[in-house]
Symmetry: C2
Subunit: 669 residues, 2 copies
């Protein structure tokens, strides 16, 4: 078919993204930091992060070798190459993000000595390195593979490679961060009475590394995973449903338009009015506006014959993403009823805090599910009315939603960077005004994070629905009859996976935290002068335990995620596997929302009390709220965020091996 102009445009957009990321990288690295204590803190976190990434990449390498062999024999060398490329590119994006994030923190803090207006761009530009690297690597990888092999199924291998890293990074990072957090608290704070971030505590560095591991590398891998999967799903649908290559490369072109729009949007991110939260929101809204124009124009320029049948669904998806993002924090917002009612419940003790928060968490599922349903129905109808198949419309809605990932991811990565900056400022004993500026930067980061969280779940939902359609096309399912017993059994088994996966991860945190506690106690006993501040702790060993344990604990849930879909397909057939995916999507999204939102709610209920309500810090109500916050930690940082990735990986496994499974099914119920 030859290489079209549009593939070159997509490749160019990817390269521009990488170029701007490189520019921002050099700019951020050139920013000064002259406080040696902040530097030492930053270097320790850098070393810890590097140690973690090293272990993660070794594990990833091993897994990649195994899966590559399987993919090679089942699907051929082209898909195997794409798979390796997907793993390597997404690992590179995660590495770049972590690298800059762990170096920018001290620079932001140093700039905050001057002013907020000076400090903000350091944080944002560092975040933008991550955001632009994610979309750049993704688009370059997918476009190159399609240019070379001219086959959407090969590009699917790239998505699978990216997704397996996301599973490791997200779930492993989730276990890591809570292992370090709980370990540092239980021994350091409770047994030895040390303050948060006390440098004598051997787990403090691991704890700070954990924040970056979960929020930068984990979230980056997760969003990259959805971004790539949504594009690939549309490519597959495009190549099966239409006999027209333009429908196949359309998602690449829309992604290119999204990258250019994100770059334009970043131009508007300036805290002129001294309000960094508003600056970030302005950037997101500007990106959205530019993308609507640029995306529509590129659809017309591409010569799609039913342009409105793809433009309107894409816009519907994008708007739904924005709306879900901005409304989903109603249940976790410190100024709203749910958080304040839960804080009030703290007066009746910890049990009532848990019951209230959990109830509101259950309730918080409703608006997001309704939003996803509205987006889906709207995209379907808008497509069908214009003569485009509804499944293609829904999948394009996912691509539309994720097109502005460059901007969204940049704002999100900004969060942990400025959060760490505050830690640096405190470690470096900067004055109160500097710390206050860091606080304001951090508050803006929290708002951005809340929006991204809702956006990520909405995007994952539409993406897995798109993958679900791609799976059905791949295995030639004309319909998927919920009245057949195989499909029902599939739905039950799939529905069981997210709670099972969550349970395994949360139990892993408990076991790994135990190992950490033992090590911390050992150091205090065996290192003379540690408690007196005369000797340095062996932080590296704690970092290692957290990392090693996290990856070891991942073996069983990882195998479950990769093997169960194949087992269900081989046992009960492709229809049952379709039911399995549908079941996992529904309960996966429900549990992801429940855990993310109840966790966020408990966190803010505690903060609300710390701000002075119900007796403030150290009151009985505060103690009760701390219990809620601790319960919420593995909910929101370990199990909840991993579920997006779980359902994406399972859908990808099913789609990648679909044809293979169809040949070897034992029963077909």
């Amino acid at each position: 078919m030859g290489i079209t102009l549009w593939e070159i445009v997509a490749l160019a957009a990817g390269l521009i993204s990488m170029g701007v990321a490189a520019y921002f990288y050099r700019w951020v690295m050139a920013q000064p930091n002259e406080n040696p204590e902040m530097e030492a803190f930053s270097v320790a976190v850098q070393e810890g992060a590097a140690a973690y990434l090293q272990r993660l990449f070794v594990a990833l390498g091993g897994l990649t070798v195994v899966i590559t062999i399987v993919v090679f024999f089942a699907l051929g060398w082209e898909t195997a190459v794409a798979f390796i490329l997907g793993a390597v590119f997404s690992a590179a994006a995660a590495y770049a993000g972590m690298y800059i994030a762990t170096r920018a923190n001290a620079k932001v803090a140093w700039a905050a000595r001057t002013s907020l207006v000076q400090a903000f761009p350091v944080g944002f530009n560092a975040g933008a390195v991550m955001g632009l690297a994610v979309v750049g690597f993704s688009l370059i990888g997918m476009t190159l593979l399609y240019m070379i092999f001219d086959d959407a199924d090969v590009v699917l291998g790239f998505s699978f490679g990216a997704s397996q890293l996301a599973l490791l990074a997200k779930a492993g990072g989730g276990i890591y961060t809570k292992t370090a957090d709980i370990g540092a608290d239980l021994v350091g704070k409770v047994e030895f009475g040390l303050a948060e971030d006390d440098p004598r505590n051997p787990a403090v560095i691991a704890d700070n590394v954990g924040d970056n591991v979960g929020d930068v590398a984990g979230m980056g891998a997760d969003i990259l995973d959805s971004y790539v999967a949504s594009v690939v799903a549309v490519m597959i649908l495009g190549s099966v449903v239409f006999a027209d290559v333009r429908y196949v490369i359309l998602p690449l072109v829309l992604s290119a338009a999204g990258i250019l729009s994100s770059l334009a949007g970043m131009y508007f991110v300036r805290p002129g009015s001294n309000d960094p939260g508003r600056a970030l929101n302005t950037g997101t809204l500007a990106t959205t506006g530019v993308f609507i124009v640029l995306g529509s124009a590129s659809v017309f320029a591409l010569g799609i014959d039913r342009p409105w049948g793809v433009i309107l669904p894409a816009i519907a998806g994008l708007l739904a993403g924005i709306v879900i993002g901005f409304t989903s924090d109603a249940f976790t917002d410190i100024d709203q009823k749910a958080v304040q009612a839960t804080a009030g419940a703290a007066n009746s003790g910890p049990a009532i805090v848990i019951i209230q928060g959990f109830s509101y968490g259950l309730l918080s599922i409703v608006p997001s599910i309704l939003g996803i349903c509205v987006a889906m129905v709207a995209a379907w109808m808008l497509a069908e009315n214009a003569g485009v198949p509804g499944t293609y419309g829904v999948s394009i809605a996912a691509v539309g939603m994720l097109a502005i990932t460059g901007m969204i991811m940049s704002s999100d990565a900004y969060g942990p960077i400025v959060d760490n900056a505050k830690g640096c400022a405190e470690a470096g004993q900067e004055d109160e005004e500097t710390i206050a500026i860091c606080d304001r930067l951090d508050a803006a980061g929290n708002t951005a994070k809340a929006i991204t969280k809702g956006f990520a779940i909405g995007a994952a939902a539409l993406t897995v629905l798109a993958l679900f359609s791609a799976y059905a096309e791949t295995v030639d399912l004309v319909n998927l009859d919920l009245l057949s017993p195989g499909v029902i059994v599939g739905v039950f088994l799939g529905g069981m996976m997210p709670p099972l996966f969550s349970a395994l991860l949360m139990l892993s945190v408990g076991r790994n935290a135990d190992r950490m506690v033992t090590e911390i106690r050992r150091q205090f006993q065996e290192i003379p002068g540690l408690l007196e501040g005369k000797a340095r702790p062996d932080s590296r060993r704690c970092v290692d335990i957290a990392a090693q344990g996290a990856l070891k604990e991942l073996i069983i849930p990882g195998i479950l995620a990769l093997v169960t879909p194949i087992a269900v397909g081989i046992l009960f057939g492709v229809a049952a596997l379709g039911g399995f995916l549908a079941g996992s999507i529904v309960t996966g999204i429900i549990f992801a929302l429940l855990m993310a939102n109840s966790g966020g709610l408990w966190d803010n209920a505690k903060k609300y009390i710390e701000d002075g309500a119900h007796g403030g810090k150290n009151s009985e109500a505060h103690k009760a709220a701390v219990v809620g916050d601790t319960v919420g930690d593995p909910f929101k940082d370990t199990a909840g965020p991993s579920l997006n990735t779980l359902i994406t990986v399972m859908s990808l496994v099913a789609t990648v091996f679909g044809a293979f499974i169809a040949r070897f099914s034992i029963f077909s119920l």
Copy 2:
């Protein structure tokens, strides 16, 4: 078609059941109790229970009038009559059960002065009144209606009537019992330092009434609901799929065989060896054995032309019910790892208890879901291999599982009766040996309760799957395509219902407990001499508040349960409604298992510590475990048990109004 011999047999079995229930009733009522303090305690609980039932029946009456009018205009007078009959018959069964349960408690305690062998039959026979009334009323009602109207769709109205009572009784009872429990604890125990069951506490009677309300009336209504629905689903499938009346009356005949088997099984319930738990299990196993013989014989006698195609699925269902029942308590058993690990986690504080218990609760979903899947696949294959349609086989499996309800329900109702007997013995200041005997009776009751809980969830799952098939037949769904957007949206919306319903019920408990707390404080302030024991509290007012609040709080969730299926059907069509039911079934069963099992696990972890582990009562670990237990209370007693009923009611609403909905759908996606 005329009335067949077999319909008369079914009616006769129902009448025999009622006759034996009447005999047991007179026998129990003739048992003595000569301790006036026990009598006073028992009378107070009787009055409280009567007050609650009165309010419940007023609410039921109002709701019945409204729904009857709707049913009358939508479906005709026959179904309206059946609906009223279903409501009245199930209310009568619940009333009979509560009546005898609240009178037998003191008689059991009095008999325990003599010996366990003397006391056990008083408790069991009282429970058997409930068990036999449930199956008797059900079978008489369904058989009579079928004799008169000769139309399975009319009998469906009976099931709907029974189900709406079950929703009120189960969810209302769940709110009631936790309102009273939390109110009594928060003010009585915490503020005034009174002991559990102190008669000065105005809410103590309400608390004791609550146990009967939830465990006797609630569980009875729930099991009756499933029992009737499974029979009706098979009747509908039988009349649509086969042009043969024998397949329609088969479930009535199997139920008749089940009643006779239960009566035979009860003959074996004798604590000869002084082991009441073993006596109950012997009864269950004997009933199972007799039913396999009697059920098979009746299938042959009925002249079903493919006998093994129904006998084997029925046996598969029955065995699955027994296995799920006996294994489901592995996660809640005090002698097993999950409970003991959670108790161990109490050493690290309440948050870790919650995380561990919740994780094991998530894990506990797995064996039951696998059991349900195996039962379903086995029943399907056994039926199809014998030439009977698989859907009919799965539905017959539900009937087979529920056939022994008479025996199962009798063992279950025994539990709260002997539990209350212990309360009576303590209130009546009986000697230690008597209390020890009551304790042993109670322990057997707890085992029976754990088995029934698993059995109830397994039965509900198969029943709603049967109803799901009946719904599909009713609205002529040839297939239910999970790839169509309407069905996907339906699955998401249906999947959202159980968490939403749980959230509303748990928030209701919080609000209603607040009202109770205010009233208890008022009484201590305004009634002179109450705290000194010189004046009696106004217990009736507390009972009233719990009852009134519970039913008031039910309005929104009740309307949601009844109206949402119709709204989804009218908006998006019958296929979307099918998806809605499927979604609600999957998440309903998952959340029901999660909440019931984690609640039971926390309860037993606390008991394990109270038995002496980790420092025993009043240790720090105990305090942490109490937090877990309190969180588990609304999980296992309010939200969890209501979900069975929710999904049954929604399936029934869809089936009853299916034809109506099909005519008025707006969109059909």
